[in-house]
Amino acid sequence: MRLKIILILSVLSGALLAWNLHSMFMDVPDELNQGAVFRIIYFHVPAAMTSFTGFYLGMFAGIGYLVKKDLRFDSIAAAINEVSLAFATVTLITGSIWGRMIWGIWWAWDPRITSYFVCWLIYTGYLMLRRAIDEPTTRARLSAVLSIFGAVDILIVWKSIEWWRTQHPGPVLEIRGGGGMAPGMEAPLWWNALALVMLATVLVLIRSRQQSMQREIDSLRRYAHAF
């Protein structure tokens, strides 16, 4: 059953991504000021959206573990946060490349980028914490607490950095421009978001099963050595 879901979702997301690539290049015209490179937004924004959704779902999975004490929640939480971190990396890298083209700089300390980078750092810490704890229940417990703190902090960090940076105006940066994009251009973005969410789900399903498998291996090994 699970395997079937994984297969169907991967095929669907693959097809959707391929179709999107086509529509991105064929149907959507080049943007006025940015030229062709603006198409990076079709991966940059969906990846960001997927990662944020993931981090919050990861927090709920962590809370689920704390409430139910079922280690399956922990597997899911770990998998979601890890996959979201991967998508967050994609967001940062694509954003940086886009920035290089548009603003001429690889990095800028504007509110959005900075708070996103902080978010990335928090969840890298999450993975490091998991790596440092061997005992499964302790690991589940502590990483769940960390993910709660992290998710709450993301909001506060976001708001704070926004206030900070608007007081110190940096280089002029407005990623989205005025009212958003022309309707004809916006469609591939949402389709891509759907595709990336499906891809993320596939990866989470596979990864969480791997987490459970790893736990089974650890416990079997302990059992074997007990003889």
Binding site: D30, Q34, G35, A36, V37, R39, I40, F43, H44, A47, A86, T89, V90, I93, T94, I97, W98, R100, M101, L199, L203, I206, R207, Q210, M213, Q214, E216, I217, L220, R221, Y223, A224, F227
Partner: protein, 53 residues
Amino acid sequence: MTSNYTFMFYGFLAAWMVVIIYVIWIALRERKLRDELDRVKRMVEERESEPRK
């Protein structure tokens, strides 16, 4: 606008590379986990079938 296309290409490439590398890493891990699981299961069977001392 050719430089534009170059950057776009790099951008796409970067995005896809991260995802592809991650997927490959997951696949490799899957194989490693399966092998280890088989090995440990065999170890448990061996130990269980050994006569108790």
